[in-house]
Symmetry: C2
């Protein structure tokens, strides 16, 4: 699958890899390089078409690659330094694995012959990579590295999409004899199993309480439209998985609710259900287990049919279902009026959601790591102008600011609004600097409740009886974080909003300008 060298007399491995990446549609690299990656970095100057975005921390690079991949629908690459650099990027690669985002994750390593000496940075990179990667390979030499890169692109793009980790020993980058490679064909998605299709159709036609449980590609306009028609015809209901990589939503689009995060609330909405048909996601299970509560949240007598797992052709499955149930045209959908901004009350979940619903610009991208504050954001924002909603998929906090960074790189003409819990934002706030450096059009809204608020609920949920020390472990107010100072430290302008008027006016300011801006909303 290699092709001729296109007039380059000689080329080192690094250059052959960069040319292969660009040729394979990988146009952005989110980097935090070190010594072992210097030839890759140097090769970037000899090859047009690769945008390099520097990150101060690897979690920023991997989270940005996730945000980019969700919006661009093709992989960015990372460039990380050895096992520890990969370690720093691991949490957001875990999220990317759960959002099934294609990423070509490039990790430099020592020269192959140097590994035997166990120099300080030596580590088992493949071992660290495997838990988050759909594909892992260590390239053996400079003549092979481009082909490995091409196969990494294909692996990242293979349904359902995932992290392909290519480990690049330094001598595979600096060695000569590289030749550009082309990306192998990616396998087609499999169609739904006919037997399962029959069971799903029977469930839908049974007249019994049935739920279409949806994720992944089904949550874009086409899939949601098909699901809506199926439900209108059969009386089934539809619901999205709790956390989803990307939902196309807002005024004029199909409003879909998410399975609630709290287990009791989830059990309540699934109560009485007789059939569950799953497309593009996993089963409705608790985010965590709690003593005395079930893991699988459907009623015991509910049948479950996994019609199309994430790697299957989800849209085709919906089309087949629609045809089998003889779904009609799209039903009339009652228009919901977009609310005005709130004028009274505190800054809380309700007024924040109302403000976002009122002010969100057309075609915005919402990056949601609002955690507790954001659980009830969906109902009010169905009426917001059309937008994409990107959520924390893997539960590994610290995604929001990097994801917004990557989404803004992918979509420079769209406003990105990062709804960000404060505790989570503190994991990877360094990504604000990348927003400043690249002048990305991101408004970050920090919900400063100054605690790990989610854990206060979780303590009760698991039946733990907290004392002073325990509660102290959930509090971030001693000292209070000053987000305006932090943002300025990273070169991003910011303001603090202590009441609702200041919050609404801050949102107008932040949405009315281009470039990065941060609002610290004191809850």
């Amino acid at each position: 699958m290699s092709r001729a060298n296109e007039g380059h007399d000689t080329m080192n491995g690094a250059e052959s890899l960069v040319r292969t990446l660009v040729g394979g549609g990988v146009e952005v690299a989110f980097t935090n390089p070190g010594t072992s990656e210097m030839h890759f970095v140097a090769a970037l100057d000899r090859v047009d078409g690769m945008r390099c975005v520097l990150c101060l921390f690897e979690g920023g690079a991997t989270g940005a690659a996730d945000g980019y991949g969700r919006m661009a629908e093709k992989p960015a690459s990372t460039l990380l330094h050895c096992g520890p650099g990969l370690g720093n990027g691991l949490a957001n690669l875990h999220n990317a694995r759960r959002s099934r985002t294609p990423i070509v994750n490039i990790v430099g390593d020592h020269a192959t012959y140097h590994l035997q000496y166990d120099a300080p940075l030596t580590s088992d990179i493949e071992g660290i990579a495997r838990p988050v990667s759909a594909w892992v390979r260590t390239s053996p030499d400079s003549r092979r590295v481009a082909q490995d890169g091409a196969e990494a692109i294909a692996a990242a793009r293979t349904a359902p999409g995932g992290v392909a980790t290519l480990i690049l020993p330094a001598d595979t980058a600096w060695g000569e004899g590289g030749a550009v490679a082309t990306v192998p064909a990616v396998p087609e998605r499999e169609k739904a199993d006919p037997d399962r299709m029959k069971v799903a159709v029977e469930a839908l036609m049974s007249g019994e309480p049935t739920l279409l449980f949806l994720g992944d590609r089904t949550l874009r306009e086409e899939g949601l439209g098909l699901a809506e028609r199926i439900c209108a015809k059969t009386g089934a209901k539809m619901m999205a998985q709790t956390s989803n990589a990307r939902i196309e939503r807002g005024a004029g689009r199909v409003p879909i609710e998410r399975l609630p995060y709290p287990v009791d609330a989830a059990i309540a909405v699934l109560k009485g259900l007789k059939h569950l048909v799953v497309i593009g996601t996993t089963l409705p299970v608790g985010f965590f287990a709690y003593p005395g509560k079930p893991s699988l949240l459907t009623p015991p007598d509910c049948t479950i049919t996994v019609l199309a797992p994430p790697e299957a052709d989800q849209i085709d499955a919906l089309r087949q279902l629609a045809e089998a149930v003889k779904a009609g045209p799209a039903p009339a959908r009652p228009a919901i009026a977009r609310p005005d901004v709130p004028t009274r009350g505190a800054i809380d979940s309700a007024t924040i959601a109302q403000t976002v619903a009122a002010l969100l610009p057309e075609n915005a991208i919402v990056c949601d790591e609002a955690v507790t504050t954001g659980r009830s954001f969906f109902p009010p924002t169905h009426a917001a102008r059309p937008h994409d909603w990107l959520a924390l998929t893997g539960g590994s906090i610290g995604l929001g600011i990097p994801m917004a960074t990557g989404a803004a790189v992918a979509c420079p003409d769209r406003k990105v609004v990062n709804l960000q819990a404060d505790g989570s934002g503190l994991y990877t706030a360094q990504a604000l600097w990348t927003q400043a450096r690249e002048n990305l059009d991101v408004l970050t809204v920090i919900f400063a409740n100054r605690s790990y608020a989610i854990l206060r609920g979780e303590l009760a949920g698991v039946g733990a009886n907290p004392g002073r020390k325990a509660l102290d472990m959930l509090s971030l107010d001693n000292p209070a974080i000053d987000w305006v100072s932090l943002a300025r430290g990273f070169g991003v302008e910011a303001l603090q909003a202590a009441d609702l008027d200041a919050f609404v006016s801050g949102m107008r300011i932040g949405l009315g300008r281009r470039g990065p801006f941060l609002i610290e909303a004191l809850l």
Copy 2:
């Protein structure tokens, strides 16, 4: 090895584990907990003797545990949340592995029965832990967890010391039937092999150029004293490994130099050597490989004798050597005068080192992540008041601020001075907040060269030819980080020093007060 329940009628696994940790000498937990750790957190209130130190990011927790363990010479525990939390802590666990620091690394996981559902946070925690851990175990149930904790303490303390990762499924914490366990005996360190001892003595007595190459325990006062006597008798020289967990040094102590980091400089100092005797460390190899340069830096005709690897009884090996060569008493050592503070020049490596040498208080702990700026800090600071010097051992940057935090927790009566490169500090600056929260006596000195300065040298070192894009990947000045704002954002007072006078006066201010303080020195 369990003992009776000491009057506790019933106890859940979490409480039995906390009691076992405290009983086993683990008195500090550096935590960043989540839902799966809530019972452990709740148990902290029922057990006296465990200090909990909250960190905003797991790299802060693991780096603090490293700094604590280096100074306290016993393990702290961490408390991390699932695979992604461990991932965030991995880079500093890599450093701890290289510094051979005992750490009981506790990672919460889903309840055992919940794992089959592959909920979003599910991951292969053992797989992520193994590359940085000397010992990994997933506890199976609440009756077993205390015993597993006791064995983790023993594993962490087993020579040469290391990271023992205990994975704690939520139901092992909340389940009943826990019973406190006692820590098993730790194996004695092995003595040096007699044949190797003979070879080492012959080398030392040969009259040919011989070097004692030292690390780990040999770099404390006793070991250095023995090495000095051996060298005085035999004419051998002594040198420390490039990066070391802890050196006892300063006025009145044996001044030892480190193997230089740059490969050419290291080859130059080892030139002509006929024999290398290694105690408490690994071979002198390049931190990285460079095209056309060797990995092993001793001359080809130099014999190498690994007399005592890090896990062996290093001090006994030195004692045996001293006896075998009939070493005399400690030689007279010329006193070196402590310098005055510099009064002219720019803020640079030389004037910083001179200022530190002049002002460092008695018994200070220096946490050195100065990277390029700090390479020549040793010669001038041999004359500083006696102090400990803790370095970045594993090459994974982002250790300095957390390590200083942990050292200050271990030694509340000693001043901690963190000499910190700016690029590296940006990985884990959140640890400043923990310093503020715990009112730790840490002076952080940021060397703001606003670049990944080390990589400028590395680009040349690997023979890469940088262009604009490549150089742009090494620059942190667009926008410049404002460290004073960052520090204030995390609740730490700070000042910026733009010239030498301001730097010296800032150092006097920072050293003259108690509690956390930060100086941004513009280089």
